[in-house]
Symmetry: none
DNA sequence: TATGAATGAGCATTCATTCAT
DNA sequence: TATGAATGAATGCTCATTCAT
């Protein structure tokens, strides 16, 4: 058993996933070689292919983890017992905070999705759509009940906000002037202000 | 001699650039081979290396073209003789329209920037910063003169809007329900509404 | 314990041998992975290496089975109490029928022999030589007693016939116009006709 | 130009083909690595893939050469101006001689055909069929004109003979007691004797 | 101004085998 | 008697780049 978990007791698959996440974010999927991943994880190639079917599989796993986390959090905020403007604001801010806290995952997500195999791409897209739709439902609810302006189609509003989330990995620096929470509050505020009737 | 421009009279370097742009956008920089580029352009490898120092150079040229175009247009709108809210709205809408009209360039821009060599990356970043600053100056002008809310730092406002521009290549489809101009008007509207005092 | 024989009561080594035979015939020795064999046999790699020393060993066992079977049958026909032309005809036809009935073994035999390790190759060759010699003795007996022509060296006659047996796996199809017995009769007939003085 | 033909003036593609032929015959297709081929030919892998699309392609080229040669020779003998029994005897003997003279090609042919990709396999099979049919036509002509026995279907007769040709690479040794021509005469004689009415 | 043969390093993946349990 | 995680070496193939012509 000692073989499975030499450095620090973390099981091999997790070690591989962590190494891959860091490297994919650092240099991109195509620029990261399987050799570099296994070296960073302290195992051999054979071990990687024992647990993952392909390099592509590794990327897919990274996506899966992020998607599940974000969907859970969105569901929690959207289902909360609060006025819709509060629920939208909370959800909009939360996705900013968790994105900043997992900037590696985020940059991989937005930069490497086109490296997935067609079938995996399809699966990821469908999960993302579900996420998008849950968020859009919040906007539509507010529009129906008159607390949000109906000047802009809800779909566009959602893409507007997620564009800025997507963009975070391009400009946000942990040593910058704003904490993740401050950025989140500002961006959620911009969204809510744009939606004022 | 006319040998440089066999198919259709377009000079070889332009043909190469056009082919590279299309292919980089289609399959990404790393997934596009030099061989594919020269085949698409109807020339041989030697010709490519006669005009461009490297594959990386080709990417840099694509960036240069886009950056110059966008900077020129932004300068024109920002220098116009109109109230600041009008100038910002026009600039914000224009960048959306030209991005949609050059979605290939845009996807390359946002997805392949990390493939540039360090020195070229530095150069591109500095040009982008100049662009960002010009846009921010418009926001700040409006904040100073009281027509825009000062609730959000101008930098963040700019990143908010450019996130949505960046995001266009992810979701915009030419056969979708909205024309480029309609999308542009909506996104500019969201920006201006968010900035209402 | 009954654990050795879960599916259908067949013991593990036989199950492995049967799976290997089918797969080696289907895709060749080199194209068949140990993993595929154990999966087809419903066991794990450890089990295979418990019973067989190596992949090469498995191939050797397949050969052994075929060689023993064919030698036994040839001996029976050659030792029979009948005129030599009858005994040769029966033996010649029988090897055709049993080869067709075990086409898998046959294709492995003729296509994969060069995959054996030197020592096993030597052993197989010596067993085959014994088989060849028994068959040749029949031809020589007929030549000595004047019922067969002596125009062709007996060795060559044997190789002539076994060439056609060898060739069966290339062209014989179970759904073709001839039954195994008909093919066998024709080929034995050709041999005997060629040997007419 | 000196780069193309360092050792002995032979162009690179021919050098590669010769090396591949020898190695495929020696150790089989699967046991021969691309690395070994290029080392034997004195070039690098890149050069091989400049001329051949894949390892499989190399095998296909070997086949092509043999098939063309044999078809030409068969056509020449079959079209000759001589009685049909002479033409069949000459063709039957010639294929034995040329097979012995190119035993490398022959062993590759009969042992490695199943390594071809489906489409190339199809092509080779169709060329082989054409060869088989030309040969069969000679047998049928003799049967129609009464000089050959009709006891055996012509197809089977052809397979009987080609089985022995196929088999040559298994047993023929240049240092054995028989010259290629002697073997050829004996095998052709066996065929013709078997066909006596 | 262009060709295209050749390089050489790198790539993802496969696989027979071992061994602690 | 059997497991299955892990190894490590090898495999076929790709590709940006160079350079004699």
């Amino acid at each position: 058993m000692a073989r499975t978990t030499e450095p620090g007791g973390t099981p091999v698959p997790q070690r591989l996933l962590a190494a891959a996440t860091r490297l994919f974010a650092e240099r991109g999927y195509d620029r990261t070689s399987v050799q570099e991943i296994v070296e960073a994880a302290g195992v051999t190639k054979g071990a990687l292919y024992h647990y993952f079917g392909s390099k592509d599989d590794l990327l897919h796993e990274v996506y899966g983890r992020v998607l599940r986390l974000q969907q859970e959090r969105l569901d929690a905020f959207a289902d909360a017992d609060a006025p819709v403007e509060q629920r939208l604001r909370d959800a909009a801010a939360d996705v900013v905070v968790t994105t900043i806290e997992n900037l590696d995952d985020a940059s991989i997500f937005f930069r490497s999705m086109h490296h997935l195999s067609p079938e995996k791409d399809k699966q990821v897209r469908s999960e993302r759509r579900r996420y998008h739709e849950r968020f859009r439902a919040l906007v539509e609810e507010g529009q129906r009940t008159g607390v949000f302006s109906t000047a802009t189609p809800a779909d566009l509003v959602v893409d507007y906000h997620f564009g800025s989330v997507h963009h975070l990995s391009t400009w946000y620096r942990p040593d910058g002037p704003l904490t993740p929470q401050e950025v989140a509050d500002h961006l959620a505020d911009l969204l809510l202000r744009a939606l004022r009737p």
